[in-house]
Symmetry: C2
Subunit: 457 residues, 2 copies
């Protein structure tokens, strides 16, 4: 060994940042067809960097939508194998006018990199590649563990291709543990492993009321209105306390055990600051009788992400709209079965379509929630290393977000996942001015390299 | 007199259609700023045609928004004066993809002229000019009555300029009766005078919930959602029967008298055909205990004309939207005071804004409903002439639409309005494939010319 991990990362900081910036400049928005070429470019960037870091068998694997990137390094016989997962696609940047600097022109301000995808997930997945580079440089081209990389370009659109790929390539992907960096520290300076995720069902509900838009003077009072019908349906789906009104929806919802709930109570949490600095509103919402952390980590939700129908231009147009559409999702907690929830929602939509309207429910994607066991050796090792690097004990949290691939790794490869993320709660994922703390980018590379070393020891 | 009205109109049919087509080709969409030049061009077209028809004092009057066009012919001393009103602006044509032929390329199919504005109101207001031309041609340049024309370009956006102009020019506009052709026959072949109109208040409700869009995984369950909050508010404003839930909204609503209601019962009305051929749905909606005609002619309504918020592109984006907006109108019946209704709605919006949200109500325009007396001499004459031309007795109806200028003429000029329209119920005003029956265009010119003659006799 020719130096320490810390020294190598410090000496290469400028280049590590330049490379990330180059990655962030690619607008790899997976949901927008006009960015298909950019998504492909991002895959090629990842493949090139895996090759440069000394990985073998680097492949860009075509799929029905966006490519997967695979690579491995398997020259540590007898040592465990880590499957590194991340995604190179990003969310759309709109509303563009709220960005202080352009979303695909990474800008350093106050120690943060502002760019779409900086935290979710380009900045985080790229740490894995740089950790491999670091260890190979220090160990004369060798790694303390075997590694496989599987990086996808459809995480933000449901991940259909990787979900299909994993069960078809169990032998190729065989590993002892998966490593995912797509979550956040509980707070700045607190080493955090996420051991639970919510699932997600994402749908579109389209309402058709009449054969065409109608004049509201001539037909108002007798004709069904597609926008209002959709409004009526959605308002019935959740009460003003956030309690979902779909029959049976809470049947399989179990609360976390007392130990886990108690550990959450010891986490620093200031509701006033959460409200003001993160949510940016005047009041929180949600089910009475549950703490904020339980509401966002371990309770199902129903959200309307967008709605459109009728005339929305400047000025006035007096139509009764014929059609309206809403994007509606349900977040699921472990033990809720996505198929069962979809059926319950479908029944609810059908049963509550107002007179004269037809409601079509389209399920865009879905996956279950899950929890992992914190006493698994890889997770325990990660917790130990993480705490040592950051100088205080690692806390175990959950995330209310969804990383469907973690469930697939458990189901098809039989392995747990270390969810070791270095984001911060106010990174603004999916929002304008998404950022990633530059210090955490470097700390992440250091921590992951130490994790590989310790796990291989 | 050198011929009959009927003969002159028949001999000039082709030219009358060519001129109307030229008018319809101008996309004079008053609500869209990018069409300001087209609206101006339409005003110039009207002014040129008034001049060509032999009217004096033709003026294009600039206003804060779109111009008014004025003209008169006052060489019939001792005869009554008719104030002809119409509008040369049109509604936006969207959704464009539903038009079978382009909205501003008038197309003749099955005896109908398909174009935006063909029935509402270019095709109808242009009949007045052609009736004047016809009479002057037959009477050696003279007319049997005095006429004044006041044509506006803001009817589809609330008519603020004409509403300001009329009270400031009472002497100039002095007349015995106003004539408006912006309504429809009750059904093909039935001469119809409209004696009642609903008023309209058109608003935008904007909801702000958070300082930015949020990730629904990380904040779902605790953060307010602007789209859902707006949905909750709107769903509370009207129940599933169409009964408006704004406190006090029905206080001043009076039902039409028994004679009028009974006369409506004698009108041919087939609910099944209305539902299938006009509304194009599977069920009608609205307040139980009122006939369809009463619901659309003489009951207040609340409609959502459009709604927008959050992510509405292709695919999925898991945001909790920060902002959402809806276009909401209330139709008013006579005796409801628009100011009072606006205040009641404002209070309702404020009182029902969900926790964590701010609702802003912007009133875009408003005007009262009204009824006119069918026994007024001008209206009685119109009914007699109309019945004679079409060969059956004229029926008196109301319209659920709003023509605010009719209220202004009553209030500021002290005159009633003859609402003599030649549209048909299925003309598709404000909808794709708006049409106007070509036969009714010619019949309208004939009937209006006869009305001028008989009213001047």
């Amino acid at each position: 060994m020719t130096g320490t991990i810390e020294t190598y990362v410090r000496q290469n900081e400028a280049r590590f940042l330049d490379e990330l910036n180059e990655f962030l400049r690619i607008p790899s928005i997976s949901t927008l067809p006009e960015h298909k070429g950019d998504v492909q470019r991002a895959a090629e960037f990842v493949a090139a960097k895996l090759t440069a870091a000394g990985l073998d068998h680097v492949e860009i694997i075509p799929t029905a939508k966006h490519p997967l990137v695979y690579a491995d390094w398997l020259h540590a016989p007898g040592k465990p194998t880590v499957l590194c997962y991340g995604h190179y696609d990003v969310q759309p940047p709109d509303p563009l006018e709220l960005w202080h600097t352009p979303p695909f022109e990474p800008t350093l301000r106050d120690g943060n990199i502002y760019a779409r995808g900086s935290a979710d997930d380009k900045g985080q997945m790229y740490m894995h590649i740089k950790a491999v580079e670091t260890l190979r440089a220090l160990h004369g081209g060798k790694l303390p563990v075997n590694v496989k990389f599987l990086i996808e370009g459809e995480e933000e659109v449901g991940g259909a291709s990787i979900a299909k790929y994993v069960p078809q390539h169990k032998e190729k992907l065989k590993a002892d543990v998966a490593l995912v960096s797509d979550t956040a520290l509980y707070a700045e300076g607190i080493p955090t492993l996420c051991i639970g995720l919510r699932g997600l069902i994402y749908t579109e509900v389209e309402c058709t009321a009449t054969m065409r838009d109608l004049h509201s003077g001539l037909y108002g009072g007798a004709a069904p209105n597609a926008v209002f019908a959709l409004v009526e349906l959605l308002a019935k789906a959740k009460d003003s306390n956030g309690v979902i009104q779909i029959p049976g929806i809470y049947d399989d919802v179990k609360r976390p055990d007392a130990t886990e709930l108690e550990s959450w109570d010891t986490l620093p949490f200031e509701e006033a600051s959460f409200l003001k600095n993160e949510v940016g509103s005047t009041a929180l919402t949600g089910e009475p009788g549950y703490t904020v952390l339980e509401r966002i980590w371990a309770r199902p939700t129903l959200e309307v992400h967008g709605i459109a129908g009728g005339f929305t231009g400047a000025g006035s147009k007096t139509v009764i709209p014929a059609k309206a559409t809403a994007k509606v999702s349900l977040r699921l907690v472990p033990d809720q079965d996505p198929g069962k929830v979809i059926e319950a929602f479908r029944k609810f939509v059908e049963a509550n379509a107002p007179a004269g309207t037809k409601m079509e429910l389209r399920v865009l994607n879905g996956g279950p929630g899950l929890v992992v066991n914190p006493s698994h050796p890889a997770i325990a090792t990660a917790a130990e290393v993480f705490g040592k690097v950051m100088g205080r004990p690692t806390v175990f949290t959950r995330s209310g977000g969804s990383i469907p691939i973690v469930g697939d790794f458990a189901e098809h490869l039989g392995i747990p996942t270390v969810l070791m993320g270095f984001g911060l709660p106010d990174d603004g994922l999916h929002s304008p001015n998404e950022k990633y703390c530059l210090k955490n980018y470097y700390t992440g590379i250091v921590t992951i390299a130490h994790f590989f070393e310790r796990y291989g020891a």
